[in-house]
């Protein structure tokens, strides 16, 4: 501990360099911690759905193929099935093409049972069941387009050549995705001329143990029909959606690591410079009896303090930015689910320690092992 003074004093040797190094490490670790936090969106959603008793039933040929409306009663009659809800994607836009947000038409009477865990208020669901043109809108979308309850809005179809005029009867809130807009499938069916089709069926089983049996049973019922089904648990269904982002997440992580490596090299260069300037002092301290090991420890400690200060600074800023970003703007959609998990703090500080340790170790060792007489002759 008596050496702490020495380490701290050395940090003040070149204040500008010390603070620039702290800042550059902070910036890179800010980027790093934000990037490696991205995949938490996926993990969060998957964790939420892991214990779900919901099953998604879609056309075996792919998500863009529809299923007949008539399947509904047959699925409902399957053992252990509590509720079935048809869902059709409308893909409407509000004003601009860039306004895209998820808008779905669902069977209103089944929705409360399928989404009981979303904590949508009962009055909202009641209104939804009463009015054929009713819409429930997520708070993010409400805020984004500056909508209010009771307002009439028109969505222009992109999949279907029609427009729907909806009345906002409530917000979804709770755990529902913050940017969804829900309206009634019977209204959509009527508007597009009753083709009797459904994008997917959401099915609730009576227990999570029953889920695999129900999946097998449903797919068996429609085997060899003109529209074979493929059922999967909600976790696996969402997981397959998330797979689209997997490459993106991997890229984010790789980028994060590249950022850390490059700042590591910059830090190594800075450490080498700062050690080089002290070669004579190091020789003088060794002539007093300081061992190379002690001197290396002191120099590495100094570098660790710089790197950890940068790490904490970067991590804290990323945490705050993500927090502000996710709470202030639900319109950010799935991005709003980004949180900085504690493990990222750990990873960032570990990255900082590695930067501090490795950048200083090699130049410090070289300097501390240098021949004392040679180093002293350099100054003379």
């Amino acid at each position: 501990m008596k050496y702490a003074m020495l380490v701290l004093k050395n940090l003040t040797r070149n204040k500008r360099r010390t603070s620039l190094t702290v800042i550059s490490i902070a910036v890179s670790l800010f980027v790093f911690s934000a990037l490696v936090s991205l995949p938490t969106v996926a993990d969060q959603v998957l964790a939420d759905s892991a214990s779900s008793t919901r099953i998604a039933v879609h056309n075996k040929a792919g998500l863009t193929y529809a299923l007949p409306e008539a399947y509904r009663t047959r699925i409902a009659a399957t053992p252990h099935v509590v509720a079935v809800m048809g869902e059709s994607w409308f893909g409407g836009i509000y004003h601009e093409v860039t306004d895209a947000f998820p808008n779905l038409a669902v069977d209103p009477e089944a929705a409360p049972q399928l989404w009981s865990d979303w904590n949508i208020s009962k009055p909202a669901f009641d209104q939804f069941e009463k009015l054929r043109t009713a819409a429930l809108v997520g708070p993010g979308t409400m805020k984004r387009f500056n909508l209010h309850i009771g307002q009439q809005i028109m969505l222009r179809g992109t999949i279907y050549p029609i427009n729907v005029t909806l009345k906002i009867v409530g917000t979804t809130g709770g755990k529902a995705p913050p940017n969804f807009l829900l309206f009634r499938r019977d209204y959509l069916e009527e508007a597009i001329g009753r083709p009797g089709i459904v994008s997917i069926y959401w099915v609730r089983a009576d227990s999570s143990a029953a889920v695999p049996g129900v999946i097998a049973n449903i797919d068996q019922q429609f085997a060899n029909s003109s529209a074979e089904t493929q059922s999967e648990s909600e976790a696996s269904f969402i997981g397959s959606f998330m797979d689209n982002y997997r490459a993106f997440f991997t890229m984010a992580e790789v980028l994060g690591i590249i950022v850390v490596l490059s700042i590591g090299l910059v830090a190594a260069n800075t450490a080498a410079m700062s050690v080089r300037e002290r070669r004579a002092e190091i020789a003088v301290m060794r002539s007093m009896g300081f061992t190379p090991r002690l001197l290396v420890t002191l120099m590495v400690a100094e570098s660790l303090i710089i790197a950890l200060a940068g790490g904490l600074l970067g991590c804290a800023s990323a945490y705050i930015v993500l927090k502000v970003f996710s709470s202030g703007s639900p319109a950010a959609g799935p991005l709003s689910a980004i949180r900085m998990p504690p493990v990222v703090l750990g990873e960032t500080l570990a990255a900082a320690s590695l930067i501090g340790l490795l950048s200083a170790l090699i130049p410090a060792q070289a300097a501390a092992r240098r021949n004392i007489v040679e180093a002293l002759r350099m100054v003379a």
Binding site: K2, L6, S287, G289, V379
Partner: protein, 246 residues
């Protein structure tokens, strides 16, 4: 008093290898310095003065021959042993002071004490005493850049004596100072020698040094050319001071 040798060099040769050239910095030097002496090593540039000093201080190794200091054979110690030995027995003073710029005078002097088991309060007392000896007790919180060259060299001397080493080794301590400061430093070293019976070996070009030291060892081209007594008047004073102490 018995003239036991503080420093003995026995047929010491130091050869530096540079590319394909060999430089014989020291060529079979045999000499001894009695304990409690203040001696100067003088000679032309490149004659091997610094090389001798480095061997005595245990920061360089002889190519052949033996160096013993205070009865211990320095030339046989391992690097680790040498580091510990230097911490206990050697106080080094350099031409360019070599103080750590980010440390105050106090902290610079405290530096070698960090390697000892002394407690903070004890270290404080030692540092204060050492700074008082060199007459800079009132400057302990100044940084090197706030001090004159002579004052910096005093701090460096305080740093060299604070551990109470067996020997003080100084390489051209006045080489970078004006005439007045140089005389002050020489006088300070002489006083340390007289009052504390420190063995001091000083390399110098400075002719004034002859008035302060007891003997001059003359080096020429890596060979010891002779040892001459110096400071005729001062030797008496030294003897008087010694009898007063004992």
């Amino acid at each position: 008093m018995g003239e036991s040798a503080a420093i003995e060099l026995d047929n010491v040769t130091r050869i530096y290898k540079r590319d394909r050239f060999e430089i014989r910095a020291l060529d079979g030097v045999t000499m001894s310095v009695p304990a409690g002496r203040f001696v100067a090593i003088m000679g032309p540039s490149g004659s091997g003065k610094t090389t001798i000093l480095n061997l005595i201080a245990g920061i360089d190794r002889a190519t052949s021959g033996h160096v013993s200091v205070g009865g211990e054979v320095v030339s046989r110690m391992t690097e680790r042993e040498l580091a510990g030995w230097r911490a206990r027995h050697i106080g080094l003073v350099f031409q360019f002071y070599n103080l750590i710029p980010v440390l105050t005078a106090f902290e610079n002097v405290e530096l070698p004490l960090l390697l000892t088991p002394l407690k903070k309060s004890e270290r404080f007392e030692h540092v204060e005493a050492a700074l008082a000896v060199v007459g800079l007790a009132d400057r302990m919180h100044h940084y090197p850049r706030q001090l004159s060259g002579g004052q910096e060299q005093r701090v460096a001397i305080a740093r060299a004596i604070v551990t109470d080493p067996t020997i003080i080794v100084a390489d051209e301590p006045t080489g970078d100072l004006d005439a007045r400061s140089a005389e002050e430093i020489l006088a300070l070293l002489r006083d340390l020698n007289l009052q504390f019976r420190k063995t001091i070996v000083m390399v110098t070009h400075d002719q004034r040094a002859e008035r302060f030291v007891e003997s001059v060892y003359r080096l020429d081209k890596g060979v010891l050319a002779g040892v001459e007594p110096a400071r005729p008047a001062a030797i008496d004073a030294a003897a008087a001071a010694r009898s007063r102490v004992s």
